[in-house]
Amino acid sequence: MEGEGFRQIESIYRSESRRVIATLIRLLGDFDLAEEALHEAWAAALEQWPSQGIPAQPRAWLVSTGRFKAIDSLRRRARFQPLLGDAAEHLEADLPEGRDADELEDDRLRLIFTCCHPALNPDAQVALTLREVCGLATEEIARAFLIPAPTLAQRIVRAKAKIRDAKIPYQVPSPRELPERLPSVLRVIYLIFNEGYSASSGESATRPDLTGEAIRLGRLLADLLPDAETTGLLALMLLHDSRSSTRMDGAGNLLLLEHQDRSLWNREQITEGLALVKRALSSQRFGPYGIQAAIAAVHAESSDAAATDWEEIVGLYVVLHRLDPSPIVELNQAVAIAMRDGPLAGLDRIDALLARSALPGYHLIHAARADLLRRIGQLGEARAAYAKALEMTQQGAERRYLESRLQELGGNDLPSRPPPGPH
């Protein structure tokens, strides 16, 4: 086989492995057994394909080879554990199924819903999804979330044990159950995206590997389950990601939305995102993700901060707050109101939020307040608010941003800048 053939095998490996594992988990009923079977199936493929050629349906070939390898391995082990013999026979008696494409795609959905089952620890849902659905190595996930690999491995082991012991079924929820099950899947995908888009700690503020995986998952879910919110989430992620190359200056400092060079925003992602927003909103069953995507769409369509339709954005935040009330939404709404009606109007809102201690320990509320105070010339108070925000964040790029603002305020010559928009 030529180099071309090996490249083809490599590309099949990349595109099919996670699909095959999703089906093997269903057929074998066990994550670890399926992982082992996939490994053996690939070992067999690398042995046979170069001389005998790549089978017409490599995916089906890998599934049935993996399944037989698993039965073999259970038989071998059954000499020591008789129960495994029964399991092997049971597996063999089951007709090989799932050859048809729809069934296989359903397996990927089954896998996502199982990994994001609300009965699993929320941190474990994220780890398990990245490991099983995206195929990231344990070490990669641990690095991305800055936790020790053994801790993460333990989390995954515990989650798999709970799936097995509590018998979490491998199935796509029925339409009746979907409303209570879909949110945790969307939450996991958006969490993965956000961790990549604005890492909670560490030097670098973004991790493109994680945003890429989240968008891939979002795309898969929107394809397989084209619900208003799955579409809305995909749109939201694409529109945010379209700005990713302009969120930092050359020195790695954060740039707020109004200082970003909009000509560098990714047009392709914006075009796709805008079309998806339109589809999500027209369904009339839109939810918080669709509305957030609509807000991102207004920014994407505006040539600069001044030309932004802040009236529209304030209105969208009102809808968002009705669907999903949270102090973070109120804070963003306050910032949009400041852009529409001036800094004082925004300050009133923010001070009201602080007065009911709605967001204790959240650095961005103090940063937003500081910027508005500076704009109206209350420099002493602005300085105190920046200092407070700085105390509350460990994230390198955000710290540098706040420090530079504090430094500017230390001098007598103050540049006048507009307050921050959502970034």
Partner: protein, 116 residues
């Protein structure tokens, strides 16, 4: 697969219920029990006496010690249980969500360890 559904709630609030309210809730429990008996989920279930009737027993160094009260003081108290048969956790969650106590207290769903 067997699951034990442990019903946790505020004992004091239950004790403070009026006779009418208590009878109404008992009625709901009876209807629910009948329901899951018909559907084949029910294996057993009981209401427990309040925690003031509880005794905690330990054996240390061969010596039995019995002390007053439940093993741990918790915000909500164990007030009763159902032992159910369900195909998987999703089915168990569906059944548990219909226990009247789920509306103001919480139900802990624990799979039963099967003997190998």
């Amino acid at each position: 697969m067997k699951y034990l559904c442990l019903i946790y709630g505020l004992e004091a609030a239950w004790a403070a219920q009026s006779e009418t309210d208590r009878n109404r809730i008992y009625g709901e429990y009876m209807a629910f029990t009948e329901d899951i008996q018909k559907s084949g989920h029910l294996l057993g279930g009981e209401e427990l006496q309040p925690t003031q009737a509880a005794t905690t027993v330990r054996v240390r160094n061969g010596k039995v010690s019995a002390t007053d009260g439940p093993f741990a003081e918790t915000k909500e108290q164990l007030g009763g249980y159902y032992l159910i048969e369900a195909a998987d956790l999703n089915e168990a969650i569906q059944v548990a969500s219909r226990i009247p106590g789920a509306r103001d207290g919480s139900i802990e769903v624990r799979p039963i360890q099967e003997m190998e």
